[in-house]
């Protein structure tokens, strides 16, 4: 069923890119956040296409479940006003459009036309293998990540927490 896969890929790509544009273009932050969730879901779909179901699940959990919620919380906390219209976009945004476009397209062309030392599809290993890698070979970085999360917590405390006077 390669056709299905290709079709799905195209549809998901359209979803991802379109919602990404929406994130950038929506004036209302809440809309942007919702578009972002759409984008995340699309990416999760891509992961499934790539036979990385575990990653896809984690994507949904972490991005859609955690980060998006975090973002929405932040928007709520700061009052989700659209803000001054003049300040909506930085004036360099329009300069950045062609530059980003040209650069992006150029890189896309290079990346898409190169020949890779790639085998056929479906090399992603089983979840067991991933777990084994994660907890054996990458045990040390895994532990360090906990420190990073601890740092994030400290950050929330020292920056965002209200001090009792």
């Amino acid at each position: 069923m390669p056709e299905f896969q290709q079709t799905a890929f195209i549809l998901l790509s359209i979803l991802i890119l379109a919602s990404a544009f929406c994130v950038v273009l929506f004036r209302n932050l809440i809309y942007s956040a919702l578009s972002m969730i759409g984008c995340f879901l699309g990416v999760a779909g891509i992961f499934i296409l790539l036979h990385a179901e575990l990653v896809a699940a984690a994507q949904v959990l972490i991005y859609v479940g955690a980060i998006s919620v975090l973002v929405i919380f932040a928007i709520m906390l700061t009052g989700h006003r659209a803000g001054d219209l003049r300040l909506f976009f930085h004036k360099q945004a329009w300069v950045a459009v062609p530059i980003c476009a040209v650069a992006g397209i150029a890189l896309m062309v290079v990346m898409a036309t190169a020949t890779y030392n790639a085998t056929k599809d479906a090399q992603n290993p089983s979840d067991d293998a991933i777990a084994s890698l994660l907890f054996n070979e990458y045990a040390f970085p895994f532990e360090l990540v906990s420190l990073a999360l601890l740092v994030a917590m400290i950050g929330a405390v020292i920056l965002a927490m209200k001090e009792k006077k």
Partner: protein, 486 residues
């Protein structure tokens, strides 16, 4: 496994100490927190000692995730020195600014762990985690004085630019992984050297990585954040941020561009040269027009990055150890002189409530604070590169490497900007000794033995590296020889 534990012993010590600090901190009254810095310093010392005693062994741990070799030992000890110095100069300042929290020390320790991991990693994933650990801690350190607009601004700028740059590095690493099929430096290096690897994507990967690192070390045109962040951050944190991340980033750059990309030097050497020249221009000329000392030091550190990049260029085809050793030694010298210079600013801020880091505040310092002015002079001379200071030998060694690699013309350009930079370093001395102060101080009780000790250590380091550099120099040379051997 015990093997692995031994390898990360220093990190574990720091983690344990940081956790202890975090736990103990809320239980202590503000006055009682003053000992926390010593806890951290003690951890750094023990960690450094344990690193030192493991210097004879050379092995990789965690399935080739990190390498414990002389190179790692050199950088880990250096980074621990940075952390210890940073904590020494911080305590009083935080106390006076009413932000004496254990979190600060924990963040420094976490950042240090991240840097150490960056230096010792030989795996992309391990490196990336180290990088992010350092980066996240750094953002928070920059924004630590959250009631000061400048500090928040610094944190915000650091965070945005840093996150953006991290994405570039990460993209580059993703491509490298994808092209080579491995995350291990050595394996990637072999794959890149032996091929077959599509050239276009590889170049793009190099560009992403180069851009990301250029940000981390604040090379022009990725430098804009640096002066603002140093100016806005709490001064002791600025000291730490202006040195630590750079040291770690250079440790990683050397590994990246020799082990992994050494065979691609044709691609990155010209770009590195361009970056280096641009960085020297920006650093030297913009430091010239600064009135704020922290900004000035920020641009000056950009200038030093320009010189360091020259040495990286000199590593060119990966057979040249001299350039790498020069980077190592330069970083060691830079650590002492830059930490020292910021430390003097901390000292002044502690003693004078009106001190706002401007050059004018230095007027007449030679009379008011003779010792502070004296060591500041020493640091400025060292930054200028005048013997018998560490800065001189570092620059000498660096020029040696550059000339030896056949880039004498680059050395001449470096010399030109050294000359320009001499101007603004001298101006500090001019203000301290040759101008009389017009404004009076608002004296505060800033006496701090910690800080004096820190400045003393920095000054001693600057002199010692300038007069008896042989041990550090040899260590640097040994470190890089082995790195290229494996």
């Amino acid at each position: 496994m015990s093997h692995d534990i031994i390898a990360i012993m220093p990190e574990l010590m720091l983690i344990a100490t940081a956790v202890v600090i975090l736990l103990v901190d809320p239980l202590l009254p503000v006055d009682g927190r003053r000992g926390l810095s010593w806890l951290g310093i003690f951890a750094c010392i023990t960690a450094a000692l344990s690193t030192w005693f493991s210097r004879g062994e050379e092995f990789t741990a965690f399935s080739h995730g990190i390498a414990l070799d002389k190179y790692s030992v050199f950088f880990k000890i250096l980074l621990l020195v940075v952390a210890a110095l940073a904590m020494l100069i911080s305590e009083k300042h935080l106390f006076l600014k009413k932000r004496l929290l254990g979190d600060y020390y924990a963040l420094i320790l976490f950042a240090t762990i991240g840097m150490m991991v960056m230096a010792e990693a030989i795996d992309l994933i391990t490196f990336f985690v180290g990088l992010e650990l350092m980066a996240l801690s750094s953002y928070l350190l920059a924004g630590f004085f959250r009631y000061q607009e400048r500090s928040i601004e610094a944190g915000m700028k650091y965070f945005l630019t840093g996150a953006f740059a991290s994405n570039f590095i990460l993209m580059g690493m993703a491509l490298l992984y994808g092209l080579s099929g491995s995350t291990n430096y050595q394996e990637i290096g072999d794959a890149v050297r032996l091929g077959p690897i599509p050239e276009g994507p590889l170049v793009i990967a190099i560009m992403f990585i180069l851009a990301g690192f250029a940000f981390k070390i604040s090379a022009a045109p990725f430098h804009n954040w640096a002066p603002d962040v140093y100016q806005g951050s709490p001064t002791p944190a600025a000291a730490f941020l202006s040195v630590g991340p750079k040291v770690a980033a250079f440790a990683a750059i050397l590994k990246f561009f020799t082990i992994m990309l050494g065979s691609q030097s044709d691609t990155w050497v010209p770009l590195m040269i361009a970056l280096s020249i641009a960085t020297m221009i920006v650093g030297a000329t913009m430091a010239l027009v600064q009135k704020d000392l922290k900004r000035m030091l920020g641009f000056s550190s950009i200038g030093h990055v320009g010189y360091l990049l020259l040495a990286v260029v000199a590593t060119g085809d990966s057979g040249r150890t001299l350039g790498m050793a020069a980077v190592l030694f330069y970083l060691a010298a830079y650590t002492f002189m830059n930490m020292g210079a910021f430390g003097v600013l901390v000292h002044l801020a502690n003693h004078n409530a009106r001190f706002n880091d401007s050059l004018d505040d230095l007027a007449g310092l030679g009379k008011r604070h003779p010792w502070a002015a004296g060591v500041m002079t020493l640091f400025m001379l060292s930054l200028t590169g005048v013997p018998p200071t560490a800065g001189f030998l570092a620059k000498f060694y660096l020029f040696s490497a550059v000339v030896e690699a056949g880039f004498a013309w680059l050395a001449v350009i470096g010399a030109l900007f050294s000359l320009v930079s001499a101007f603004f370093y001298l101006r500090v001395i001019v203000f301290m000794y040759m101008r009389d102060s017009e404004q009076t101080e608002e004296k505060t009780d800033g006496k701090s033995w910690d800080l004096s000790l820190g400045l003393g250590i920095a000054a001693a380091g600057v002199l010692l590296l300038g007069i008896l550099p042989a041990p550090v120099l040899n260590a640097a040379q040994d470190a890089v020889v082995k790195l290229l051997g494996n």
